[in-house]
């Protein structure tokens, strides 16, 4: 046995995940978030407009005003919420793991060590493709609850990250050419 060390570990000296500087997502990603919200909002507004057009007597004028004010408030609220929650999202890749943090009300940090990643996928939705964005998803054996998706990356960055993680999963060896399992690249996959 060559150079066997078994020094006690000082837990306080271990690298701290909570102190790592996180990278923010690409600002264009706000557009994607807002677009998703606006789809929902358009449906609601459309419903009320139709009701107003065909049957104005359904509510009294004051209630119609209240609905209008309510909708405007929700719209403003959503925009503010999106801006703030966007600021809270961040990711980083350490030597041995991937970290993704998100959440305004409930702050969640997910960490996946590379030696537990089964495969990597790169997704591009419709809006993302128009904006040149992509998301990276890391799959583990822990089921869907422990998969990690990092959205709002520039396509070029996402590809670099994907290659990096693929290399971490299947480190290329010199002397025995193992069959490197090609990680999926569902570039055309719709995922929003």
């Amino acid at each position: 046995m060559n150079e066997f060390n078994n020094n006690p570990i000082d837990i306080t000296q271990l690298p701290k995940f909570e102190e790592v500087q996180l990278n923010g997502l690409n600002p264009k990603y706000i557009t994607v978030l807002l677009f998703n919200f606006s789809l929902l909002l358009i449906l609601v507004i459309g419903g009320f407009s139709a009701l107003f057009y065909f049957n104005q007597d359904a509510f009294s004028n004051t209630i119609w005003m209240a609905i209008l004010v309510g909708l405007v408030l929700i719209l403003v609220g959503l925009v503010v919420f999106t801006k703030f929650s966007f600021k809270k999202k961040g990711y980083t890749f350490r030597e041995h793991d991937a970290i993704y943090k998100s959440g305004l009300i409930s702050e969640t940090t997910t960490i996946i060590p590379f030696n537990r990643v089964q495969h990597v996928a790169l997704h591009q939705g419709f809006i993302s493709r128009k904006l040149g964005l992509a998301s990276i998803e890391l799959f583990t054996a822990g089921g869907s609850s422990s998969d990690l998706e990092i959205p709002g990356l520039l396509l070029a960055d996402a590809q670099i990250i994907k290659n990096l993680v693929s290399q971490k999963i299947n480190p290329p060896k010199q002397d025995d050419p193992i069959e490197v399992a090609p990680t999926e690249t569902p570039l055309s996959e719709e995922h929003e």
Binding site: F17, S106, E107, T110, F114, N115, R116, T140, A141
Partner: protein
């Protein structure tokens, strides 16, 4: 032993096997049609006897013919040229199962009750690819089964000479633990109340629905109600509750014994084999490396009776839907047996070492949601509708408060996390106390979570995902949790061997 049996020619199962198939088909039919049968029995007097017995005889005859045809078309043989074991079956839909001999991991011979009566055995073949369809021959004489098993295993041995030792070991698995009837009775009386209650509820509603559809007046509801009305109110309540408790206990007992009768754990060098069941013997292969999460459950009664239930969660080959086969329960083992099983699965007894407790706010939050909110809702509803008198409301609320309060207090008291170098142990539960054990290197992902209002008080939660399920610890000291997360990450990332 007669070794000259030629397995290269297609063979049929042994002739009494028809009876086994017949019994199996009959059982399936009865199970599918039981509500109808029950109604027929109830309305027996008003039925045309000729039609009744005629149709029963007809169904039985059809099943008999199908069984015979199934027997006729079921053949198996060893294809020496390609090194495959082939099973062909099916009357109309032909199925051909081929198993490459070198992929055979395990050959099991078991017997169910019917097979025991007829004097045949079942031969099951386990292959490396666990998600593949399993191959089995349901009726074969013991002598033939032994020879075939030897043949199959010898073949796989030829392919993998280095594994020869393993296979020799496999032929004679040593019996390890046997769970006797007394332990099963203890477990039957002390667990699964809710499950059995649901089962009984379903049973009754199905019957009532079917009876109502036919307008059958079997049990005169008025009569029962009238009888109960004549008794003092508390006596009738006790009668109804007593009836249900007895029924639940009985159903529990029968279910446990039927399912887990003759529970045996056998150990071979490679794997652990579990077999159990009264009417149908189940056989499961357990690979200690595949075990991701172990859950030991015990309640107060069971502690006094020295029995526990151990749930073993294996890594699923299919992440989306967890297969039943991957979740195994060992019912009713005593303390020594529990320790032996844990040692077998983990290599050592899990140590608890450092203990972490939740913040008192966990109790406060749970009390708010599970005690105060329900009371407020009933208060509001009763205020609106005057459903019960206020005296009654106070009485019910007092009973509920005491019950919920005790449950909340114990579930808080029992909520603990233990961390040592090699184990993470989480304990929780109010009545049934679960102890979940995982090994740090089997963690797949870690998630920490904190609400913004928890920042000031430095409280947070952590969820550990493994391939066999998640473990979470909520409302703990966030600084301690972050320190633990860093430690676990270090353990996972420096672990050189595989996690499975």
């Amino acid at each position: 032993m007669n070794k000259s049996v030629d397995f290269s020619q297609p063979q049929r199962q042994s002739l009494p096997g028809i009876l086994v198939m017949f019994a199996n088909s009959l059982q399936k039919t009865v199970r599918a049609l039981w509500p109808m049968l029950l109604i027929w029995l109830v309305k027996f007097d008003s039925l045309n006897k000729l039609v009744f017995f005629g149709s029963v005889a007809g169904v039985v005859l059809i099943i008999a013919i199908i069984s015979y045809l199934q027997y006729l078309f079921f053949t198996f043989y060893i294809d020496e040229e390609n090194g495959e074991f082939v099973i062909q079956k099916g009357v109309l839909n032909k199925t051909r199962i081929t198993i490459q001999l070198h992929k055979i991991q395990q050959v099991n011979i078991n017997q169910s009750l019917i097979q025991r009566l007829v004097g045949v055995h079942k031969l099951e073949i386990d292959t490396a690819g666990s998600d593949k369809k399993e191959a089995s021959i349901s009726a074969i004489s013991h002598e033939l089964a032994t020879i075939l098993k030897e043949r199959l295993i010898n073949h796989s041995q030829l392919e993998l000479t280095e594994n020869a030792e393993k296979n020799v070991e496999e032929i004679t698995p040593t019996s390890f633990i046997k769970i006797g009837l007394p332990s099963l009775i203890k477990i039957g009386f002390t667990s699964n109340y809710i499950k059995s209650f649901a089962l009984i509820f379903l049973f009754f509603t199905t019957i009532v629905e079917n009876l109502q559809q036919l307008n059958a007046e079997v049990i005169d509801e008025d009569q029962v109600t009238n009888y109960l009305d004549t008794l003092p109110i508390y006596t009738s309540i006790f009668i109804v509750i007593g009836f249900f408790i007895t029924l639940i206990l009985l159903v529990n007992l029968v279910r446990t014994i039927l399912k887990y009768f003759d529970f045996t754990i056998q150990k071979s060098k490679q794997a652990i084999i579990l077999s159990y069941g009264l009417l149908s013997t189940k056989n499961t292969l357990l690979n200690p490396n595949k075990v991701q999460k172990i859950k030991v459950t015990q309640n107060y009664f069971q502690k006094k009776l020295d029995v526990t239930t151990i749930g073993i969660h294996q890594a699923s080959s299919d992440a989306e839907k967890v297969k039943e086969k991957d979740q195994i329960e060992v019912p009713g083992c005593n303390e020594n047996e529990r320790d032996a099983i844990l040692k077998l699965l983990l290599g050592q007894l899990p140590q608890k070492r450092t203990m972490y407790l939740p913040n008192w706010r966990k109790l406060a939050v749970n009390t708010f949601f599970f005690l105060l909110v329900p009371i407020a809702i009933t208060l509001f509803l009763n205020h609106k509708t005057e459903f019960v008198t206020w005296n009654d409301w106070f009485m019910y609320t007092a009973i509920f408060s005491v019950f919920a309060g005790v449950m909340l207090w114990f579930s808080f008291k029992n909520y603990k996390l233990f961390v040592s170098n090699d184990f993470i142990i989480k304990q929780n539960g109010a009545w049934d106390i679960d102890t979940t054990i995982i090994e740090p290197y089997k963690i797949q992902a870690i998630e920490t979570q904190q609400f913004f209002w928890q920042k000031a008080t430095n409280i947070g939660s952590v969820t550990l995902s493994t391939a066999g399920g998640t473990v979470s610890f909520t409302t703990g000291n966030y600084t301690e949790i972050k320190q633990l997360v860093n430690y676990w990450l270090y353990q996972v990332e420096t672990w050189e061997k595989g996690w499975m």
